[in-house]
Symmetry: none
Subunit: 195 residues, 4 copies
DNA sequence: GGATAACCGAGACGGTACGTCCGGTCTTACC
DNA sequence: GGTAAGACCGGACGTACCGTCTCGGTTATCC
């Protein structure tokens, strides 16, 4: 899809992603402009338009680059045999990330941008949400196999029941998003699903 | 707060709210501009700026006007003594509204605008979300009093557990938002909370 | 043709014309941009685009405003009864203007822009060249009536013969444009035409 | 001045000159870009920048190549002993060339470009205008020697008097440039000069 | 019932950013 | 080492809207 990726300047790519994240953190997503990103990155606007279709796409890449830089890149959800304990661990990590100031602003921005830009949503699904969702499905199926969850349980429903309250509180509610809340959500959801 | 509401032209007010809703429906929120609303409403831009602080505020009013026009204006959540049945009823209505094409686009738009505009969020909380939330709390407390829910239950947590999955699926997931899903979420959440 | 001339800001109009002339004088026509004019004039770009169709049109107006400011606004060519003497006077004035540094750069620029922009050429003809040409025709016809020129002489040809060499040297030749040259051209052309 | 002319691709050179002429003819000089020429010629931009300093320089070469292709490459102005007749012949040929659609657009373009680009002007003088001017001077001096023109006549002045009206009408006037006009200009100018 | 003040439509204004085009330079791979 | 290809930084284009600011015209109170 990109013009000719082989000749692409890695230097400019990094500068653009860094500048985008910095600007979103400093002035917010709405006041972050492509022009501003280009200027701060010391890059021509065309270099951004050549490789990304929109401001949101730049931010998505920036966010992916950021999480790839982390050591704890999740390969698999923990599977100790105790689903509830494992999910609490995972959910606390999720809450920690969602409240990390480095991630919070750009991720909120992306989450809303996705609602208006189908192309961006497709990218997000393919590169961020999809892989994560597959890990969740895997872990839940493993729990089904182990008898921790009913065999006939609808996995997609289960995922929304477990993670939905957390994401809802993150984006839509004014109540605080804490580790305790994560634990309570997991406990309650697990209890509800086990029936 | 408004200059002098008594002299306000009701005709212009209606035309603005209608045009705003129409435009959001036709071209999407992002491509709806104040200038566009003014032009379609046959109104000077200043008339919009005089009475509303932002595009989102216009839309919030438009949405409120829309739901006030409905007959089924909710005064109280049903309370038949069977919490689960009552909630299923309520949740099905919510899902119906969220998937109604007249509401869907503007409500999604508003939901995201709120994330970036604190003043708008305050209005939203005060005039839409707050009243609803109070009804939910009331109904849940009534259930506590009736022994259907544990007395020590954190009501705010309960609300997020029950409604979170639905709103999460509405805004963030690609899975369909159906009446069945509403029922399942309520059933599962209730079972989890009753423990 | 303009949107609504009555509400036009005279202040901005003057600032734009002045800035345009200044910039053409300082950096040349090619490096003068609409953006640059707007910036120097302290004016939004749209204010230029609202009232002028092109950079050349701004310059034409600026030039017209400049010459309107002069006291010696020509109303009629002198007519003392001695055509050759009168024309020498006029031609020396023309040469003086063409070599005046305030006029030279913008007028050269305009003269070339006209070759590529038919709309601009029409304006130029109507507001600058045409009126002047009519004065010339008038004076020559008066000379015909007085018997100083043959009655059957083609006036358009005569004008090109008299003024052509001067404008040619101004724009195309590297030889200097002097008052003596003006005199010689008039003398020689008159002699050629009288035959 | 060019890097190493020996390795130069004749194929590319021709393609560039042809494309330049074609584009100027089709979309005009202003909308002809170096990128456009390169693209149409199937050539890298660098290949143009390596061998020519500017768009105008390409066009000058293209024009020279075009006239070299003509059979009637002027080596000398005709000298039959009748200056007026000779000049009429020459002037009619000039008019024919200036109104030839193949030459007209690019030559107008070049004539104006020269006003803004001193380097190009130097090239133009050296390779097109200068040689022609020398031929004209030669022919006029020959006429002086033959007694057809006064011995003390300023040759440069004479050239401007004879050719000025034609070039002026070509570039600046809206009146048509015809063979009759050429004849009349020569006749009148000759009469004026002979005095 | 005439003055007057607020609202209204219209739209010009100084700005910011858009997404595109092209200038001139540099880099890569090929021949 | 010249070439086709094209990425790069940068500057300007002409457009869309922003939010503010007059303009006249029209109500709708209040003296």
């Amino acid at each position: 899809m990109p013009p000719n990726a082989s000749r692409r300047s890695e230097r400019s790519r990094r500068a653009i992603l860094d500048s985008a994240l910095d600007l979103v953190g400093e002035v917010g997503y709405a006041r972050t402009s492509i022009e501003g990103i280009a200027a701060r990155a010391g890059v021509g606007k065309q270099t951004i338009y050549r490789w990304w279709p929109s401001k949101g796409a730049v931010l998505l890449d920036a966010l992916l680059a950021l999480s790839e830089g982390e050591e704890g890149e999740v390969e698999d959800l923990p599977d100790t045999g105790d689903l509830e304990a494992d999910l609490k661990l995972v959910m606390r990590a999720t809450v920690a990330e969602l409240t990390d100031p480095r991630y919070d602003a750009p991720m909120r921005a992306l989450a809303t941008e996705i609602l208006h830009d189908p192309a961006l949503r497709a990218q997000w699904s393919e590169r961020l949400d999809g892989p994560l969702r597959r890990l969740k499905e895997e872990r839940l199926r493993s729990a089904q196999a182990a008898g921790e969850l009913p065999g006939e349980l609808d996995i997609a429903l289960a995922i929304d029941l477990i993670w939905g309250p957390v994401f809802h509180r993150w984006l839509q509610s004014e109540a605080p998003l804490t580790a305790e809340f994560a634990d309570q959500v997991v406990a309650s959801a697990m209890h509800g699903l086990r029936g």
